[in-house]
Symmetry: C2
Subunit: 633 residues, 2 copies
């Protein structure tokens, strides 16, 4: 090995040095000739000049007759002019105007005489109603500069200008080699320890969007010789090659060794997070990039190091769009690297906010949910909550303006609301984050969300939500919208193997409980019930094991990693678990009063009141309908 | 026929009524199942739920050992804990953590003992370094709502969630039938009266951009039976059919008749310009649109009537982007229709301006050059110069900010400057409009352009440009940049068939002159020379025939529609014409002083001074280099 040492090259330097390194090895754009009819969207390799005039003949622009204008001079209502039949020609729109004529008179303005002559009551202007040769395009004129994207209209202009084919930049073929002993093809049913290979699909899709042609190779085991063989083959076939992964400095990471033995490594280790262990190298003149295995790292390395390379040789401008937003949480970052943090964004009351998502590099779903990327430069410690930050947009800004933001307690019905709203009007969206009921109340306080799902039981009054609102919003400014009653209960494996009958059973010896996070309504409920029933939470094994959603609690029980947990019926039903009902609670939506009549909140209330919502709730089971959409407070 | 009457239905009403009409006939989106690996960019037909958890097993997030956390409780530097070999398991990153364990300790924190036991000096937290089942995605969770575009990350999330295929909206197949006796395939060499068929290529490219699949049929002659046969076949094969053209009410327009006989016409005649004679109909449940033949009309009808229909069934949001700009000229519009005017746009001194382009519906090159579309609503008379208007953007706003705007006298070297600037840095653009030297001076006065090409000869002093600048900019505010000296001369057909030797020969009997437009430097030069040489312009046949560029003057002579014209050598050379030199003139660039140090003007001056420019000019011929890039005034 001997390759354990990773460099920490600043991103911009790595990018520039890599292009220099590659150009010195002879890497450059390739060109190809394509038919003009298929050229839309391609990038010209050289300027395109018209070969013929358009129109290529003097054409009549009207149905009528072609005349010599001078023959009509002096014609008026009272002194008409007669033109003999040998001195004019009948023309329809698009017909060639014979060279001897220099004007067209519309058919409506002509009187036909019996001897074949015509009478005009108005003089014609020379060249009237004639589309002159080259009026649209002149032969020899430049139609397009080089390095220019061919638009649909440019296709038409080129054909009109007699250009039937042109030289364009060839889309680079990018070979993708997935490596790893634990990786299995994406259509297999994975066993424990096996990971579905989906990075190549993500990378392919990103490359296709950037006018490159992905070519995915079979999975290669963590074995130096196999990796070298696959790499050499791909370098023979492709313009650029990606090794994914085996880029770290671990026991079974052969990426750097393989590239170095067949070619040369420029850098191993870039000052970015995620994505640090990336490798930039080449075999012959073919660029070879070692890309980390975690999907989020892979995406960042593709976007920050491969896409700029493709844009550079293809002369396509980078399509990154930026906007400014208010950061809702403090975010700290190391000084040693440039960090890319995924954020969820929302327009609430015309203010665009950005909330950092989980930073784990393995969490592909968080990339899917991200609306933008906050780039924290190297040598910057991070940003404070409330700071205005620059965000690279992943979502369309127009879409963000039409997105209802719900932050708070998790319930699968929120996803179904999202589906109902978007299916009815695909220009409207719902985005949700699950941070528990208390997190939702805080989000509403900071005006980061239009609405928050909450089901907080007040220990003193035994009432739901309203005592909390009174406490946290003493000045008012919020409304509570009724949603559903839902049954909380204990979830256990099918057939209740531990014979759990009531809450006090969760302290049974050997039983593994799985809890919800602090601040969630379900955690508040558990603590309330334990106090009420004198259950010491110290005796609950797994009381400290926290999951963020009802579904993930159910998952732990279904998979056997826990025996019991408190949650809602619909989550238990999803995994075919047994369910011991404990309490029906009010799950309501807290809404900013200032947003109550905004289009998005009106849409929410309308949907809550709809027949479709009622049906969906009944189908999911475990809920009661508390006149959803009504204002409770 | 009996179909001569055209309606004048407002666009929005036509659009809505047409969708109603089609839905009543059973027209709707089709769906198809695709492999998830190929789903990027497609639109989901139904919500997508995860089938498995991701991770689907509790996975170690580190290289180390899996233990029962409780076994380590109490361990410190001074009171280490020993764990026997049967009570832990070695795990690498990604390995499954056996169900009996609930924590992973990193390899660096372990001391291996000889008996196979390990010693820990720190207590482990339960669930530390374990990626819990479903941490990324839980089985049963909604991954995507319906009618949602699949992003690259969503492809990864679906595969991770065990979704190997999904139902998406099928891209509608749109049949395009070109019709017309005068239309010939785009790869033929057209004879007079023949028009190259390029509309189907433009339409195909627009449809592909809008996620539809174009299918182009052979050209059909203007014959009712042939059109009906082609239409019936296309309606059997396709989801939507376009007849292009034959939509007007002329003798040979069979579009409406063909659609009516096979199906039904809803409207013929929409209140838009261009595009009025569009037909909206259906055969069975297949929408059939009759689209006018002029390319600009066709594009507008596709964008305004077909694309919304495709977006409606495909649940794709319209991608139209709007901006505000200052209109540079008054524009009048009829009250009876909504008008779509192509505009050229430019950022000069941070003000975005919009200048209307030629309105002719036949001019495809003007669509290619357009940066935006000004939509003038029905019942609006138009807009005044200086008014702020809303423009639908065709060019990228970022691109407009990086575009050097040159308005003024025409010279092919401006196109070559454009090529030099863009080829060196593909993020920089040059846009030019040819309005003659005086037009250029006026554009600079109105601050619509960074620079204007001009070559105006002062009759009193015999000097170029500077007397005009003094007159039009008495307060200063402009700079004159040297460009080239160029030779103006008389262009005639090859071998000078009319034996023209000097300017006075242009009044020869039977000779057809072709002139430039008023305000152009070449027109000013002609008038100057005629006065000087006592030539009466009344005696020049064709003095009133105006062309806008040197090239188009050359075209008229090359094609035989004129015999002689004044112009520059490079235009004559392009068409292999004879050239009788008359005078060398100064072609210079007038620049706004306030823009002199803007990046775009600096780039212009740099390019004028470059070796590449010198070579290009020498290659074109007919120019002298007057230290280009130097400030003359």
């Amino acid at each position: 090995m001997g390759f354990a040492y990773l460099t920490n090259i600043p991103l911009e330097k790595a990018r520039e040095d890599y292009i220099d390194f590659l150009e010195k090895r002879g890497f450059s754009a390739k060109t190809e000739t394509v038919k003009t009819v298929h050229a839309a969207g391609r990038i010209t390799a050289e300027p395109v000049y018209a070969k013929i005039n358009a129109p290529h003949y003097a054409a009549s622009a009207m149905d009528g007759v072609a005349i010599i204008a001078a023959d009509s001079f002096g014609a008026t209502e009272t002194t008409p002019k007669v033109i003999a039949k040998e001195n004019y020609a009948i023309v329809d729109t698009g017909d060639p105007v014979p060279n001897e004529f220099d004007a067209v008179v519309m058919v409506e303005e002509i009187i036909n005489n019996d001897d074949g002559s015509i009478t005009l009551h108005e003089a014609a202007n020379p060249w009237q109603h004639i589309r002159q040769i080259g009026e649209d395009i002149c032969a020899g004129e430049m139609i397009l500069t080089s390095k220019t994207k061919v638009s649909p209209a440019a296709v038409g202009a080129m054909i009109a200008g007699g250009v039937t084919e042109l030289s364009v930049i060839k889309k680079p073929v990018v070979g993708i080699i997935p490596t790893g002993d634990e990786i299995v093809p994406s259509d297999t049913v994975p066993k424990a320890g096996e990971i579905l290979e989906f990075n190549s699909s993500i990378i392919s899709a990103i490359l296709s969007e950037n006018s490159a042609e992905p070519k995915v190779y079979d999975i290669v085991k963590d074995n130096l010789e196999d990796i070298k063989n696959a790499l050499q083959k791909a370098c023979n076939d492709c313009d650029i090659v990606i090794l994914n992964a085996g880029t770290s400095a671990g026991r079974e990471d052969f990426g750097r060794e393989a590239i170095s033995e067949l070619g040369e490594c420029l850098y191993h280790g870039i000052a970015i997070k995620p994505g640090k262990p990336a490798i930039l190298g080449a075999v012959g003149k073919v660029p070879v990039l070692g890309i980390p295995g975690y999907p989020v790292s892979a995406i960042i390395v593709i976007e920050e190091l491969l896409n700029p390379l493709i844009s550079h040789i293809s002369s396509t401008a980078a399509k990154k769009k930026y906007t400014e937003a208010i950061l809702t949480r403090q975010i700290l970052s190391g000084l040693k690297y440039k960090e890319f943090v995924r954020v969820k964004m929302g327009y609430v009351g015309n203010i665009l906010t950005a909330t950092p998502l989980a930073r784990g590099a393995g969490v592909v779903s968080s990339f899917m949910k991200a609306d933008g990327i906050l780039e924290i430069p190297q040598n910057t410690e991070g940003y404070k909550a409330g700071e205005k930050v620059r965000i690279r947009l992943l979502s369309d800004e127009e879409q963000l303006k039409n997105t209802l933001v719900i932050i708070g307690s998790h319930d699968p019905l929120i996803d179904e609301l999202s589906e109902l709203i978007h299916a009815e009007d695909s220009s409207k969206y719902l985005s949700s984050s699950h941070v528990g009921s208390m997190g939702g109340i805080m989000a509403i306080k900071r005006k980061e969300a239009h609405a928050a799902g909450c089901h907080l039981l007040d220990a003193e009054t035994g009432k739901y939500n309203i005592p909390y609102i009174k406490k946290h919003f003493p000045q008012g400014g919020v409304r509570l919208i009724s949603c559903v009653g839902r049954i909380q209960g204990l979830m256990t494996a099918k057939n209740n193997p531990h014979n759990i009958k009531s809450l006090s059973d969760i302290t049974k010896d050997g039983l593994r409980y799985v809890n919800r996070q602090k601040g969630s309504g379900t955690r508040v409920l558990l603590d309330y019930l334990c106090r009420e029933q004198n259950i010491d939470t110290e005796n609950i094994k797994g009381y400290d094991r926290e999951e963020l959603t009802h579904t993930s609690v159910a998952v732990q029980i279904a998979s056997g990693s826990a025996d019991v947990g408190l949650g809602i019926y619909s989550a238990a039903a999803l995994y075919n678990l047994d369910f011991i009902p404990i309490k029906t609670e009010q799950y309501s939506l807290l809404v900013l009063e200032s947003e109550q009549s905004s289009p998005m909140v009106k849409k929410l209330i309308e949907t809550l009141k709809s027949e479709k919502f009622r049906k969906k709730i009944e189908q999911m089971g475990g809920y009661t309908l508390d006149s959803p959409g009504e204002i409770l407070y």
